[in-house]
Assembly symmetry: C2
Homo-oligomer: 340 residues x 2
Amino acid sequence: MRPTTRDLARAAGVSLATVDRVLNGRPNVSEKAMRQVSEAIERIGFVRNLAAANLARSTTYRLRFILPQAGDQYLAEIMEEIRVVNDALKSEMVSAEIVQMAIEDPYLVASYLAAIDPRRVEGVAIMAPESPQVRDALKRLVERGVHVVNFLSGSQQAPGIEFVGIDNYAAGATAARLVGRFCRKERGSIMVIAETMRAQDSSQRRLGFDDVINRDFPHLSVLPSLETHSDMERTRRIIARTLEYNRDVVGLYVLSSEARAPISCAAEFISLNDIIVIAHERTPFSVEGLKSGAIDAVIAQNPGHAVRSAVRLLRARIDGRSVLKSQDQLRIEILLKDNL
Amino acid sequence: MRPTTRDLARAAGVSLATVDRVLNGRPNVSEKAMRQVSEAIERIGFVRNLAAANLARSTTYRLRFILPQAGDQYLAEIMEEIRVVNDALKSEMVSAEIVQMAIEDPYLVASYLAAIDPRRVEGVAIMAPESPQVRDALKRLVERGVHVVNFLSGSQQAPGIEFVGIDNYAAGATAARLVGRFCRKERGSIMVIAETMRAQDSSQRRLGFDDVINRDFPHLSVLPSLETHSDMERTRRIIARTLEYNRDVVGLYVLSSEARAPISCAAEFISLNDIIVIAHERTPFSVEGLKSGAIDAVIAQNPGHAVRSAVRLLRARIDGRSVLKSQDQLRIEILLKDNL
DNA sequence: AAAAAATTGAGGTACGTACCTCATTAGCAG
DNA sequence: CTGCTAATGAGGTACGTACCTCAATTTTTT
């Protein structure tokens, strides 16, 4: 059988109480006792039984996902995945609540974060653009003992706050490589559309996209980014104008995670089958586009993986464990019509 | 607080013993009691605390991965991932042992399976080609109460035995789509190399590959599959001969998971930068090839995901739980130099 | 109506760890 | 040496569920 704390105490030549003091970092333990226990742990290969430990201290993992209010299909997918995880992990004392708010308002978000009660919430996953207000509020939240991850957006490396998501520079570079290799025309320009370039993810993607096109596909040129601001009328207008002034458009790259509106608009003015179209995220719309040939490739970060990754990370932090970093490295997926 | 079995008993108006009988499917329970308990479960939202349950019945998850002896880098990656999982899940009573054997010998494998003691092993993940002997041995193993998954190979739908791995037909189709779209030449033929076409995964991939090329890229033609049988000399010889008789080769597709030998051989006779090269699985070799440009794309099934998926599946079966099917759907990953 | 069988309840112990109290001992300063 | 504090041990309870026994009750069969 596996060694228990009792076996460990015997092997270390100390009492159960001392083992407990060492294992849980309680005060009043001599150097010597500490050494004896650590040595015995190695020697007999003791591993704490997490289930029993959590049972004893009746740990709960009450997590909260803070998400935007606005959003189309991709946001819906994410929320669905959160609900699935919430159901599936009930028996392991995990609950994952969703809270939606006007995430673009830093003051609102910061005040919400300030009001979180550490006795009622152990972990927070937040999908918010970076801003000084939010950054500070998160820092204070961490200080109050709540674990936090930046979820698919925000800073990739804030101190004490982990990031779950893909490398957006690399995602843009991948999109560029696909455009370049798929494109059969010798010359031409590529239209780029985003919701707003103020979001870090979009600007990172654009950077990666430009770098690869300029370096490896110099015969192609990239047009200035068009910003839709989620406004259909505006979107239609700027696309029409861009196509009018650029007769040599051979590709379309949609930076944002919600591609439905911009691609639908573009389809009104140009035949998507004649140009290379690359979008982000798997949604009912993008899947349909891949199948029909309107979209040539989709760069995706799996929302299910992302959600589970965030939950795993927060759970590990709450347990004071470290995590398998490899598992939580989100992959940049490339979807074609054949590998849906 | 969360309702416990005690609360459930009170809510159902029965004793704790009866609740236990219902929850654990023990005999001697009246229809009525059963109904009362089920109804109360719904009403108060009772969810069994898995940690406590497993503690009480002192469940262990002793898993065994049965792998081939032969194999190059991909097999090494898989074994490394198994070791990582083994370490990481020690505290959750999971152990994952690796056993290697001459997996191509159905009689050997079958006799090994027959000798497995159900009291010492709860689950088995096996990476073996399908054969009547192995199929029967697995069936008997399941009957003896051991849970089994086919791991990255074998039948995709045997009764009572789950499959963890990608859809190989779709993987081949994806490879074909990439070759077709990457290829700038108007006409040409594609060389296909496998270790052996008797393995189901290879033949499935070939099928998918042919279907897409024939349907969507009729200007390309696919040469008959070359079989290396893991023999370097033979590999070199057949590649040389094929290239000699087919001056119009524009692409190379390596079906097997270990691409190092065939691609190295091919490089001796043709400049890989001039043709489209597609391989399977992420290995140090294939990553290097992507970076250098020798390989244009890699179709991969993430070994870490595969291992964890198999472990999750087996654990769930041992607990008598159902699993989130979406999570264990292995993705067909496409790797370019930018999204490694 | 009696006997047999099925159902139910009461009460206990166990799993491995956390955390508490209290008594005792060791070590050290004055 | 005394007094004080730090260190240690002994022993307990708790967490929520599983699983056991045995007696009491109800239902079914004869």
